[in-house]
Symmetry: C2
Subunit: 293 residues, 2 copies
């Protein structure tokens, strides 16, 4: 099989596979977790299930949301698989790679870097949207439990919310729906995004706009978005102006783009306490667009 | 108020309070988390809610199960508060306290130590069953959201499952029900329990039996147990003979004690993936005996 299985863990009637594979895109081994719901694993009547790709935020590995996000609880009821990719290559040992918590290791921002030395392996957009999806669906054992024709949805948190929105907007037709928890919704206009984009993409802000959900929505020609965004009003990063979901809403409105729902929740912060609380809504959102609900 | 609030975090419509207080029993500051469900916090129609005490296992703090246990999801629907105590005193700086992961720090075993130097503050039974419960219910702000008369249930995982069972059996009437995930059910007969009991209670095995669920059940005169136990068959500690739930079942049967349900689950391990999967069942078990279901 394409993947090495490091562990198989029972969770909500299904199984979480902790996997590793060699990526030709990042040139490194990549860790990834895959949750298969009980419907896919029935010994008597297994069903091929659709897939939700969940992109994690800064500092995270595939483990964080697998352990704390509780997407599995609802996905197991509906028959939805979940794929948790890592947030950057690991092991390239590039100079400065581990110096910042918001750039380099665990901070790949789901872009293909064009600037040295990051262009050596920081290609997280191509890794997730092409290589990883192809590897998972093509895997003789795990892929046989999935049905690409039933569709793939994408979701994410914070930097991963940015990743989910931009991958959805940049690859029309690849994903049936998108949802985001506290996404970095206008990275060209916030410190996190500016730092990351300057490092990975260089100094030209025009190049940055190609990876900014708010900018991409302005020129969206793909019809109604299938997009759900949740933001907590006690989220310190929201209050600092790192997320800017209002800019995304405004851009969609000005461009006449329908189908974006943004919800603001009093008292909720940026943590997995927030993600887990609304996890079932995001699974339901994906399930609706994948024909499971 | 009795407690210092370190953080207040929205979770499943309610709030998780990260608290600290000075314990006269342990002679140290003690961290504790309290989850209040939305019913207790309604601005227009607040209800005083009953309480589930959740005792964590080896190496854990109040954070682990708050983040990974998923009990809040179901407790928020039913109107149940959850109290997550710590697993030992911290800060005594006793010789050897941090040498083992299964003794000393984060391994208090919910007993009152009689052996030096542990008798200086390792009094986790008295701390949980007396001081902490009194402090929480007596707190002017948080206690006013709770209703002790509606009852208190206890649950726990691994070492905390041992704690839940033994506190329930040693304090008849204190708890309305008990449940345990993968409990150390017969500690006098397993390496974890023997090490801990020798250290905290001395060399006399008769003293150990006072804190062993299997031994206590033999002489139980409190009527039907209200006890639910879940064990995963892929749990490495179960397979090593650290848990021994069969011994508890056998002792209850031989003593003619009814009301103990032990369930064995294929493929499940010892982790929070196991706890979270069955968390709703344990909340429902408590809720039933607290009159919420």
């Amino acid at each position: 099989m394409t993947f090495t299985t490091k562990a198989t863990i029972a969770s909500f009637g299904g199984k979480l596979y902790k996997l590793s594979h060699h990526s030709t895109t990042t040139t490194t081994p990549m860790a990834v977790n895959l949750y298969l719901p009980p419907q896919a694993l029935s010994p008597t009547n297994p069903q091929r299930v659709p897939l939700l790709v969940y992109l994690s935020g800064l500092t995270c590995s595939p483990e964080n949301c697998s352990e704390k996000g509780f997407l599995q609880a609802r996905a197991s009821q509906l028959g939805l698989a979940i794929l948790y990719p890592d947030t950057s290559p690991r092991g390239l040992d590039l100079p400065g790679e581990a110096e910042s918590w918001d750039f380099g290791l665990a901070a790949g921002f789901y872009v293909d870097a064009t600037q040295a030395p990051w262009d050596r392996g920081y290609k997280m957009e191509s890794y997730v949207a092409r290589e990883l999806l192809d590897a998972v669906f093509g895997d003789a054992e795990l892929g046989a439990r999935l049905d690409r024709a039933r569709g793939v949805a994408v979701a994410g948190h914070s930097m991963g919310g940015h990743g989910a929105l931009t991958l959805y907007l940049r690859h029309p037709g690849l994903f049936a729906s998108v949802s985001a928890f506290a996404p970095i919704a206008n990275p060209v206009a916030c410190p996190w995004g500016q730092k990351a984009f300057r490092g990975y993409l260089g100094d030209d802000p025009e190049a940055w706009k190609e990876h900014d959900a708010t900018e991409l929505v302005r020129r969206w020609k793909g019809g109604d978005l299938k997009a759900l965004v949740d933001v907590g009003l006690a989220d310190g990063f929201y209050k600092q102006g790192q997320l800017l979901p209002e800019n995304l809403e405004k851009a969609a409105k000005e461009a006449g783009v329908q189908g974006l729902t943004v919800r603001y929740h009093e008292d909720y912060d940026h943590s997995y306490y927030f993600v887990s609380t609304f996890a079932a809504d995001h699974v339901d959102h994906a399930a609706k667009h994948l024909g499971l609900l």
